[in-house]
């Protein structure tokens, strides 16, 4: 009995500590920052929207102070919508609409997410393969690296329409052309990180493999690859966020059919600022979830590999 009670208490204690570790000491600073941001936001909205409110009202309408403030926070198409307007719009387009509807943000998020994930997959695999090639063939480092770096100096906003239109003309439409834009952006951090990671093992560890007369493949799989795992996950977290940006950018030139990018574009056509901000918030949430998912996989992998890192 007593031992049982003790282990029970221990488990609760452990749980408490775990909660404390996850949130530990961060709740107060983070909520403070958010609170300050919200206050600044509402104040900024008063200043930004004041002009429009006064113009619309004309000269002969007299505002009370609170009415004036309320008006700046409740326009249909404000220059700067306030958070509660955005949240109401998000509730309307996420919860109150069927997910199959073109008005549903879930529908658009799903389109963007599938592009993001496909692009992330293509980009990561390409990035890893490029890094493996660069690490193993010295000549490739000199030959490929300048091109890889140059590839990222091309403005993606200019390239995206070309890729989408050209591929569309040869019959490739849908998710793939957009995913390629994502992949184009997100392979870069993976390549850079993995070149660093695959060359990270100490010279002594490489010598050790030499004394065992290990084949290059064995040296790769037993030494270079596991040694590069921390670098890989650092790169993947950057890559998946960039991949989402790539997916949104790639949705713009497709005539705004579907996706969060399309939603942004449609919003700006019709001056629906609240809609733009709602799409923006959804994109941010999507990015946060995606990065957190990669982080979770990292956590599990690192724990399987001995933990302390």
């Amino acid at each position: 009995m007593t031992t049982e009670a003790a282990t029970g208490a221990g488990a609760i204690g452990r749980f408490g500590r775990r909660v404390a570790r996850v949130t530990g000491g961060r709740v107060i600073p983070i909520s403070t920052v958010i609170l300050v941001l919200i206050v600044v936001w509402y104040l900024a909205a008063i200043i930004v929207n004041a002009g429009v409110v006064m113009t619309l009202a004309g000269d002969n309408v007299k505002f009370g102070f609170t009415d004036f403030i309320a008006a700046t926070w409740s326009q249909d198409r404000p220059l700067l919508p306030v958070p509660h307007q955005i949240l109401i719009e998000m509730r309307k387009t996420i919860l109150d609409v069927a997910v199959t509807s073109k008005r549903s943000l879930i529908y658009h998020a799903e389109v963007t997410l599938s592009t993001t994930l496909l692009g992330f997959l293509i980009g990561s695999v390409t990035g890893i393969l490029l890094a493996v090639a660069i690490v193993h063939v010295k000549a490739l480092q000199k030959a490929l690296m300048p091109w890889i770096i140059a590839s990222q100096t091309v403005p993606i906003l200019a390239v995206a329409p070309i890729v989408v239109v050209v591929l569309g003309n040869i019959g490739i439409t849908g998710t793939l052309p957009k995913a390629l834009i994502s992949a184009y952006l997100c392979f870069f951090p993976v390549t850079i990180g993995m070149v660093k990671g695959l060359t990270s093992p100490d010279l002594m560890l490489i010598d050790l493999m030499r004394t065992y007369y290990a084949s290059p493949a064995q040296t790769f799989w037993k030494l270079r690859w596991p040694a590069s795992v921390p670098f890989l996950f650092a790169s993947l977290k950057v890559a998946i966020a960039i991949s989402l940006v790539g997916a949104i950018v790639a949705e713009l030139p497709t005539g705004a059919q579907a996706g969060l990018g399309a939603r942004l574009l449609a919003g700006s056509y019709y001056g629906q600022t609240v809609q733009i901000w709602a799409a923006l918030f959804t994109a941010a949430a999507l990015a946060a979830i995606a990065v957190a998912a990669v982080g979770l996989v990292e956590h599990l992998t690192v724990r399987g590999m001995g933990g302390r890192r």
Partner: protein, 288 residues
């Protein structure tokens, strides 16, 4: 255990890899495991050539425990690396088990222990010891059995599932010795394996290494810069000197086989230590 009284036996132990056996003459104890003739190694650097090894003649026989001692830059580590084919000589001859080092490496004739434990942080202790066995391609069951046995030999039973960071420095280095011995090479090359450890741990590991050597009858080449360590462990001490890296004296160390740490106060011990120190002093011109 009867290991200590067993002492050193200059015998061929049976049960070695069949392929390696054929290349060796079976004449008996005088067979050199390592033989160098006029061995030289010059590094070409931007500041001109560096003579890491110059005209090194050395034979090491089966079952010997030979220490290479000298100040830094004397080429003792370089010589060990040439034996291991981690570095290639630029002149002279070297044979390891009767073949060039390149061939000896492909036959996995030696185990190498580095200055640092060099354990893979993502592998458990037993996973690290099994690494060479995986590379050689032993079946899973045999890998596990052998690794367990080796860990027992270095007193690490019970630590198999730990990760390296959970072990002390001395235990990590013992794990790395178990790893070097896991595939049962006849030759053990050790490059200042206890150099980074404190003196108390080092003394203890020296005693354990001596016991391990008596038990396994390996040939050991041991690089160190500690005179007491060299005298305590060795059957022969090779004194080296820098610029150019060369051998200046070879001291026979005929202390009894079952040595304990107390032997270090004995006159015989001090006599040998004195000769080594004299050798080091003679070879080291403090002109810089």
């Amino acid at each position: 255990m009867s290991i200590a009284s067993n002492g050193i036996e200059h015998e061929f132990s049976s049960g070695t890899a069949g392929g390696a056996e054929q290349a060796k003459p079976t004449s008996g104890t005088a067979y050199p495991v390592i033989r160098t003739r006029n061995l030289s190694l010059t590094f070409d650097t931007d500041d001109g050539p560096v003579y890491a090894l110059s005209k090194v003649d050395l034979s090491i026989h089966k079952g010997e425990f030979v220490s290479l001692i000298g100040p830094s830059g004397c080429g003792k580590t370089t010589l060990l690396r040439v034996i291991a084919d981690l570095e290639q000589a630029t002149g002279g001859d070297i044979e390891v088990n009767g073949v060039p080092p390149q061939v000896a490496r492909t036959r996995r004739d030696y185990g190498y222990v580095f200055q640092a434990p060099a354990l893979y942080p993502w592998r458990t202790v037993i996973g690290n010891v099994m690494l060479p066995l995986e590379i050689i391609g032993l079946p899973r069951h045999e890998r596990h059995e052998r690794a367990k046995a080796q860990l027992a030999l270095v007193n690490l039973t019970g630590f198999e599932k730990k990760f390296p960071w959970q072990l002390s420095g001395g235990m990590q280095q013992r794990a790395s010795i178990a790893r070097a011995l896991s595939f049962d090479p006849e030759l053990l090359l050790m490059d200042e394996p206890f150099g980074a450890l404190d003196e108390i741990v080092r003394d203890k590991l020296n005693g354990q290494l001596l016991k391990l050597w008596a038990e396994t009858k390996k040939t050991v080449v041991f690089v160190t810069h500690s005179i007491p360590e060299a005298v305590f462990l060795s059957t022969r001490i090779v004194v080296m000197s820098p610029r150019p890296g060369r051998i200046i004296d070879v001291v026979d160390c005929d202390l009894p086989a079952d040595r304990t740490l107390d032997i270090r106060e004995s006159p015989e011990f001090l006599k040998i230590a004195h000769r080594v120190r004299e050798g080091l002093r003679a070879g080291h011109s403090y002109d810089d």
